[in-house]
């Protein structure tokens, strides 16, 4: 029914409205946001509208395979030269747009209650919507300079939000680091854009893509390296990861959801656009190796750093980059299965990491701290939050049947198939690193579970209450999505991932849709396709059947228990000193294992590596800037040698 009266004429305005409505909301909140009711109405209206518009576009773009082109102010191209700013939405843009809209909506609803403990919530929501609008602008835009502008809007909103709780220890410092290191990224993007403009005389993505790869002269190679690094900074790829950790720890949780789930995704989106689309450099095996290497390093370094953390949110922050590492690795394979796995992991990461940050926010809201060693036994006081944490933790650790597993499983297959295809055993080691990272992820969430939700309850947390309903509902929605995306991988592939993968691997359709049929054929010299868009799995996984079997066996066990008659019931012990823990005849008071002492056998064997790593993460901005500049230099040299 929707399709009948929502014609394309109306739909082509949806993308631009879904960006504008967020910015409009930001200004309206700034003006009228003093009263709580107005704030809730304005913010809800704008995030909901944005989400609904994105969701309505699924039918024409994902299923019918159309591409929406919109020229701002109707400045259509003249003689094949784009002169205005274009908004263009293909399946890839819509994929990221949906992801942004879901995270922004749920996190926004969560914030209403969560932010009541702070001063000036109107300013919070102004910045929040600016950040959301910036991100939305990046993924839907079809213009390189427009992307840069939105990138800046997004970055500055994020920096301001990081220091929003400026009374908090380290908040301003984190924002400062973020600003300094983040501006390396922005500078790179700006410089790259300038070089591209000088060479191609256009800023339109489609037009650049049609002519850039024809002549990869040194200037263009430099532009590629700069743009790649610039977006890499936004994705916090190693060695830019330490700023993310500080920023997440200081920022309010609902902002962490955006920084981790959405902000970093723009980096991933940028890297896809730059290397698959603009410069089409992903076909080169050197580029693939490079991206996979960066992905693996990010994955492993950050997961080992996460194991060492004592703060719930810092730990989550390191895991974000580790998961981004998975995505980059998968995308670096430049195979259909790799792209599908990478995009799948991107949406899964937004969901489970969003959920986990909101859980951390609830813990902070209820107890006033996220320091692991001060918490414990919260499952008794916050049972729903504990259940939500379990869902998030099992998802991120890749335990079937939750969503993290399916995407990781696809990535394992993609890397291993790549190993067989290229005959290089190196890619088999990539698979091994992925699996090891997944186990270490599990370990660090066992640590969080033990230190925050299980174990002994410290006396000062006796009065902790379950988080309010308005905070739990968005979390339950996210948890539900974590389960659904895990149980129905077929539907995910059919309606979201395959169309997005097609548009990553077939950029020519995008160009022709924007600049007219036949434009690519006339301008692009090398017409070879990056990779075939069909893929086969090396194995199989059917979550639904598994769940059915699980339920049948569960029923069987219960029937057996009833028939076998575990006649004696359960009994809770009355509180008595004799049930406490004793050691050598002395009563142990709060003898819970400290979070830093867990996994001693592992840490002992890796002590040199771990102490080197924690020394290297000195927290000094200068060091991090040095790492960044060195990394940029390495990438530049690498590109000049191999491209």
């Amino acid at each position: 029914m929707t399709a009948s009266y929502l014609s394309m004429d109306i739909m082509q305005h949806f993308p631009v409205i879904s960006i504008m409505i967020l910015f409009l909301g930001a200004f309206l909140v700034a003006v009228f946001g003093r009263s709580k009711a107005m704030r809730v109405i304005i913010v809800s209206a704008s995030v909901l509208t944005s989400f609904v518009l994105m969701a309505l576009l699924i039918k024409p773009i994902m299923i019918d395979g159309q591409i929406i082109t919109y020229w701002m102010g109707n400045w259509a191209p003249v003689d094949g030269y784009a002169i205005g700013i274009g908004i263009e939405v293909d399946a890839l843009s819509l994929f990221f747009g949906l992801l942004v809209a879901i995270a922004v909506m749920l996190s926004g609803f969560y914030s209403f209650k969560y932010i009541t403990q702070d001063d000036s919530p109107d300013k919070f929501f102004t910045l929040y919507l600016m950040l959301a609008g910036g991100v939305m602008g990046i993924v839907l835009s079809g213009d390189l300079f427009n992307i840069f502008v939105m990138l800046e809007v997004m970055t500055f909103a994020a920096v301001a939000l990081t220091s929003f709780r400026s009374w908090k220890d380290g908040a301003r410092e984190a924002a400062f680091k973020y600003l300094v290191v983040g501006s390396i990224g922005s500078t790179c993007v700006l410089l790259g854009t300038a070089l591209v403009y000088a060479q191609c005389h256009t800023l339109n993505l489609a037009q650049i893509s049609a002519i850039a790869s024809n002549d990869m002269n040194p200037t263009m190679i430099m532009a590629f390296a700069l743009l790649f690094t610039g977006f890499g900074v936004k994705a916090f790829m190693t060695p830019f990861h330490p700023i993310a950790a500080d920023a997440h720890a200081a920022a309010p949780s609902s902002v962490s959801v955006l920084i981790s789930g959405v902000f970093t995704k723009t980096g991933v989106y940028g890297i896809i656009r730059v290397s698959y689309f603009l410069f089409r450099s992903m076909g080169m095996s050197a580029m693939q190796t490079g991206l996979v290497f960066i992905g693996c390093v990010s994955m492993f370094v950050c997961v080992t750093m996460a194991l060492n953390q004592h703060d719930f949110k810092r730990l989550l922050a390191f895991h974000s980059i580790s998961q981004i590492g998975y995505i980059l690795t998968a995308l670096g394979l430049c195979s259909a299965l790799g792209v599908v796995g990478g995009l799948y992991h991107a949406i899964n990461h937004t969901l489970f990491k969003g959920l986990l940050f909101l859980v951390a926010g609830s813990v902070l809201y209820g107890t006033g701290t996220t320091y692991l060693d001060k918490l414990g036994g919260l499952a008794k006081k916050m049972p729903q939050t504990a259940a939500l944490f379990m869902i998030g933790a099992l998802s991120i650790s890749g335990i079937p049947p939750f969503n993290g597993f399916v995407s990781k499983w696809m990535i394992y297959q993609a890397t291993f198939e790549k190993a067989a295809e290229t005959g290089s055993i190196g890619y088999a080691f990539v698979t091994i690193i992925c699996v090891v990272t997944s186990v270490l992820t599990l370990a660090s969430f066992v640590k969080v579970g033990q230190s925050v939700f299980f174990g002994e309850l410290p006396l000062e947390l006796e009065n902790t209450k379950e988080s309010p309903l308005s905070m739990r509902i968005p979390m339950w929605i996210m948890a539900g999505l974590c389960v659904l995306t895990g149980v129905f991988p077929n539907l995910m592939q059919k309606y979201l991932l395959n169309p997005a993968m097609e548009s990553v691997l077939h950029p020519n359709i995008y160009i022709d849709a924007m600049l007219g049929e036949g434009y690519t054929a006339a301008h692009l010299l090398n017409q070879t396709q990056l990779a075939s868009s069909s893929y086969t799995f090396a194995g199989y996984w059917d979550p639904l059947k598994w769940l059915v079997l699980f339920v049948i066996v569960l029923l069987g066990v219960f029937i057996a228990m009833l028939l076998g008659g575990s006649s004696k019931g359960t009994r809770a012990l009355a509180r008595d000193d004799k049930h406490d823990t004793f050691f050598g005849g002395e009563k142990n008071v709060y003898s819970q294992v400290a979070s830093g002492d867990l996994f001693w056998g592992f840490k002992h064997n890796f002590r040199h590596y771990l102490s080197f790593m924690s020394n290297a993460h000195s927290g000094v901005t200068n060091d991090y800037v040095t790492w960044g500049v060195v990394d940029l230099a390495v990438i530049l040299v690498y590109c000049f040698i191999f491209m």
């Binding site: 088999a428 174990g455 079997l549 066990v557």
Partner: protein, 319 residues
């Protein structure tokens, strides 16, 4: 009718009832063999089964510190996921539920019971359990690395004939072995099979790798607060895990032995499972003392991983 048949498969053979009985029997064999190797008479073969029923009849006590739902639910989740995993591993060409999970999924499904133990122990609130789960997690980290390398090596060997060049499918691995003889007779697979023999006791939590449940040091770690039916279920899971891991070993390295009669093939597989139990678990149990946790980790990430890597490299260069 077919639904009824499937329910019988799930609940009777090779599902819940059979795995429970055979698992407990394997545990009995293990205890008996260890006793004989140490020149003791040892308990009767069905002793683990007697223990199981005895525990079922005991009262369950909930500790004051426990997070109750997790504490009570964890053993059952672990048991059920383990039984489902058995259904997904082919027993000599007898696989009722093909196409559900490949070998990498099984690797992950096998972590669910361990996780159930970890979160159950964690939920009990005891500091002994805290130490126990920490060690348990380290053993998981220890064996997971060699195990994935073993699976990749087998997957590469068996997958050569297919267009992807690799396979994770247990069905295709069985086909490959039916055509080319059991994997263990390939030179390149011998180190991997050896590594797998080391992985089995660590995954099961058998002596000398049972650092997580060390009775003498930390009072069975995660199990310290458990009693009655949940404890019985954990003990049952432990026994079933022996069956799962030995069956997986058989499927990976000793598949394709066929006599033409399915029931005879299944019996052969069960005999092999028993033999593997004796070799990989009883023997090591009888002759070694428990390792320290950092030694377990080091052993698996050096020696066992090294063996598995040798296999992977040999397969890769086509030996």
């Amino acid at each position: 009718m077919s639904i009824l048949k499937n329910v019988v498969y799930v609940l009777i053979f090779p599902g819940l009832l059979f795995t429970a009985v055979f698992g407990l029997w394997l545990a009995g064999v293990d205890r008996k063999m260890v006793a004989r190797m140490q020149k003791r008479i040892g308990p009767p073969l069905m002793q683990p089964a007697y223990d199981f029923f005895k525990l079922l009849g005991k009262e369950t006590i909930l500790p004051d510190n426990a997070a109750r739902l997790t504490f009570t639910a964890a053993p059952y989740v672990g048991l059920v996921s383990l039984v489902v995993t058995v259904l997904l591993i082919p027993l000599a060409g007898f696989q009722v539920f093909g196409g559900v999970a490949d070998v990498v999924v099984i690797l992950y499904l096998l972590t669910i019971p361990s996780l159930a133990l970890i979160f159950g122990g964690s939920a009990s609130g005891s500091p002994y359990a805290g130490v126990g789960i920490s060690r348990q997690m380290v053993t998981i980290m220890a064996y997971e690395l060699p195990l994935i390398i073993i699976l990749l090596a087998v997957g590469r060997l068996a997958g050569r004939g297919y267009d992807m060049g690799v396979t994770f499918s247990l069905g295709q691995m069985a086909e490959f072995q039916a055509a080319n003889g059991p994997n263990i007779f390939h030179w390149s697979m011998i180190p991997a099979a050896l590594a797998m023999l080391f992985v089995i006791p660590c995954e099961v939590g058998a002596h000398p790798f049972d650092v997580g449940e060390a009775e003498t040091e930390i009072c069975e770690g995660p199990l310290v607060e458990y009693s009655g039916a949940p404890l019985a279920v954990f003990k049952l899971s432990h026994a079933i895990k022996m069956f799962v891991m030995t069956a997986l070993f058989t499927a990976l390295f000793l598949g394709g032995i066929t006599t033409g009669m399915l029931w005879l093939d299944i019996i052969i597989v069960l005999v092999i499972c028993t033999l593997v139990t004796i070799i990989s678990m009883s023997l090591a149990h009888a002759i070694t003392a428990r390792l320290k946790v950092e030694q377990v980790f080091k052993f698996y990430w050096t020696v066992v991983t090294g063996l598995a890597l040798i296999s992977l490299i040999l397969v890769w260069i086509g030996v």
